[in-house]
Symmetry: C2
Subunit: 302 residues, 2 copies
């Protein structure tokens, strides 16, 4: 029976994927014997302690469209999530956003210390590339190299890191316009979400139209996700969200809510989610779970 | 004329390689238009501001043994040096070694700020994998994937990052024995030096014996290098060395000098350099520059 024929419970589907990918992540983080075990404990604290696993879900579901083996998809999903976790650890550092909680737990530098947190982030980033380049992940070296390249380009200074740099500078620049905020978010969170959606096409050696459709889906989804994040930061409560809320408002930072208003932001997120779903028409009913995800990211409460 | 037939001036050879690889590194660090330019400026500050370029020299010289194109070797050398530079930026952070100078200039967080330095390190690490996985670096995807995997394994929590974790913990543990200090250094600096020496064999699709010989050469060389570093830290002056000296002694840290004595450390470094050269016999006279490098690392004053 095809997944698309089943009654669709997106929350359950995400939970099952999260559990499967977390098991794969756990296997990559076996504790070594020596004193360096401390950095692996910190990696485990931040990587295995909850999270929606949105990016792994995108990898797994896009891979499913091309008949990619579950194993290859799970390894790739684990790599992407490790990379995401590294970015959270470093973003939370005192010199950056100085956040004490993450996913409802103490952030890495609070649970350990700053030096260990910096190293844990570095090691998770490196591990992502170790997994993607491992022959065990995919037998075709062109796939492995393409995965490494796609991840690196999404997450380096022209992508995620560049976006975080702009975000830090933006705190001193509250007059950012909507175009600047969109560019910032496309780099900071959008690029990795796009890569996650495209990863299945890379794994499946799919043609340019399919890859392009998934890339466009990822772009709209990523922006919708970020707008929903700003809405949650504005009206959510810290316990449900799992991290401090209202900090952007306090800092007087330009967000989608300050720029578009609360209703305007919600409306824009809804439009983007609809547009995201349109790109999936390329794949017919087999992309039903990805389409459901687009609604999920704007309706979520955490 | 074969390089081995020329009178050998290792300092000049290293300088020429350093200049060529630095030009390649410069091209990878073009300043973007947006505000994220700040992180690229920080990357440029730390990556283009001097350094012996020992690891690039190892890559270039090992590649030469297998007739690898200069272009592929230079790209790979740039990637390895970017990775090394990231590790220096993060090691110098206040939460880590808290070093204010590096290569005779202000360290990255002093010249910029902590947040920018963390991001610059992250971006250099990521860029290394972007370069190695780029089809422009090498036409064979198996070579690109193998380079990514080798670099990731050398520099992650089972390699360089794990070694730095042990090193930080060792400051509270001055009673490390020689075996623990050797293990620490093999991880912290040895693994990346080994990879640099092996990279030419990966680029040239060389067989296991050649790869093994270069790996063994890198192991001895890396340890000799580190012992020489401890000797310099003990008896060098900060201006020549380009970074603070005597800090290990002040901290009461176990080093090769405290464990073996000054003369013992020098003797051990010399033995290791000789052993390193023995592994090169596999390649005959074409490895003369690598053999000269083994002497250079223990005779250097900076």
């Amino acid at each position: 029976m095809n997944a698309a024929d089943q009654p669709l419970d997106i929350t359950l589907a995400m939970k099952e994927t999260a559990e499967a990918v977390t098991r794969t992540m756990d296997r990559w983080l076996a504790l070594p014997e020596g004193p360096e075990a401390r950095v692996v404990e910190a990696m485990r604290h931040s990587a295995l302690g909850g999270g929606k696993r949105l990016r792994p879900f995108l990898v797994m579901e896009s891979a499913r469209l091309f008949g990619v083996s579950d194993y290859a998809a799970r390894q790739t999903a684990a790599a992407v999530e490790f990379l995401h976790c590294y970015s959270l650890i470093h973003d939370d550092l005192p010199a950056m956003d100085d956040a004490e909680t993450r996913r409802g737990r103490p952030s890495c530098h609070v649970a350990f210390d700053e030096a260990t947190a910096i190293l844990a982030g570095d090691a998770l980033l490196t591990l992502a590339f170790e997994i993607l380049s491992d022959p065990d992940t995919h037998g075709n070296p062109a796939v492995r190299a393409d995965l490494c390249r796609g991840l690196a380009r999404a997450s380096g200074h022209r992508g995620m890191v560049g976006g975080q740099m702009i975000d830090l500078l933006a705190e001193k620049e509250p007059n950012l316009d909507i175009h600047s905020v969109i560019r910032l978010q496309r780099m900071k969170t959008g690029a990795l979400i796009c890569f996650s959606a495209e990863a299945g096409a890379i794994l499946g050696r799919a043609g340019e139209p399919a890859r392009h459709a998934l890339h466009s889906f990822g772009q709209e989804l990523g922006l919708a996700f970020q707008i929903a994040d700003d809405v949650l930061d504005h009206e959510g409560d810290a316990e449900t969200v799992g991290k401090p809320v209202g900090r952007d408002d306090e800092a007087g930072k330009a967000t989608f809510v300050t720029l578009l208003g609360l209703d305007g932001a919600k409306e824009r997120a809804g439009m983007l989610a609809d547009q995201a779903a349109v790109h999936l028409e390329h794949f017919g009913s087999s992309a039903a779970r990805l389409a459901a995800l687009a609604r999920f990211v704007i309706d979520r409460k955490a």
